[in-house]
């Protein structure tokens, strides 16, 4: 005989909302960072006050993004949280292992190009995405 369905409490819905919130905060941070980067040159002709305001906005939105991320991770279930934690650990390790030698090689002109912080951000993003995908597949 078919048993009555157990009561659910919307875990999936809650996580979906948190992902949406995180996505919006990330988008806002990217926009604020773009404004801070390109604003002085293209919009306000390097006026100090506006540049400081743009930097303040970028930091404030960045704090909001971090808080959204904390909320997202706190409301994940224990397996999802483990996957996130593993991915963060791998990302931090790769950033340290790759970042330090690269900056040293740049300082001593071992490599023919200048190491930009953007390279490290791209490397971190790719590492996090790959390790997260691997972690999700591992427990599928």
């Amino acid at each position: 005989m078919k048993q009555p369905k157990p009561p659910g409490n919307g875990y999936q819905w809650r996580i979906r909302m948190n992902v949406l919130r995180l996505f919006l905060w990330n988008g806002a941070w990217v926009a604020a960072t773009a404004l801070m980067t390109f604003g002085p040159r293209f919009f306000w002709n390097r006026t100090l006050l506006f540049t400081l305001l743009a930097v303040s906005l970028d930091v404030a939105v960045g704090v909001g993004m971090i808080l959204a991320n904390i909320k997202y991770i706190a409301e994940l279930d224990e397996l999802q949280r483990k996957v996130q934690l593993d991915s963060m650990g791998i990302t931090l390790g790769v950033a340290l292992i790759a970042g330090t030698p690269l900056s040293v090689m740049d300082a001593y002109h071992v490599i023919p190009f200048h190491v930009d912080i953007a390279y490290l951000l791209i490397l971190m993003s790719l590492t996090f995405a790959i390790s997260n995908l691997y972690g999700t597949r591992r427990f599928r």
Partner: protein, 76 residues
């Protein structure tokens, strides 16, 4: 750690998604526990025990030892 989650779920004709909803976790987590890829925390094990109206050791047991439910069957 082994468990009888899949059997208990099948007895009630619940899907993994329904069980996941009742335990407030993702379907992926239920699947990982059922297949033995992930060991749940004590609090999640308690939630499962409450949901099925059983004791934790009747659902989860050590790899080397049979579950309490199996032991009971053996001794009866």
């Amino acid at each position: 750690m082994k468990n009888r989650l899949k059997v208990l779920r099948a007895e009630r004709d619940w899907t993994q998604a329904q069980l996941a909803g009742a335990l407030d976790v993702s379907r992926q987590t239920v699947n990982a526990i059922e297949t033995g890829k992930f060991d749940p925390s004590l609090s999640l094990a308690f939630r499962a025990a409450r949901l099925f109206g059983m004791r934790i050791e009747e659902i989860f047991h050590d790899e080397d030892r049979p579950s309490l439910a199996t032991e009971k069957d053996t001794y009866v």
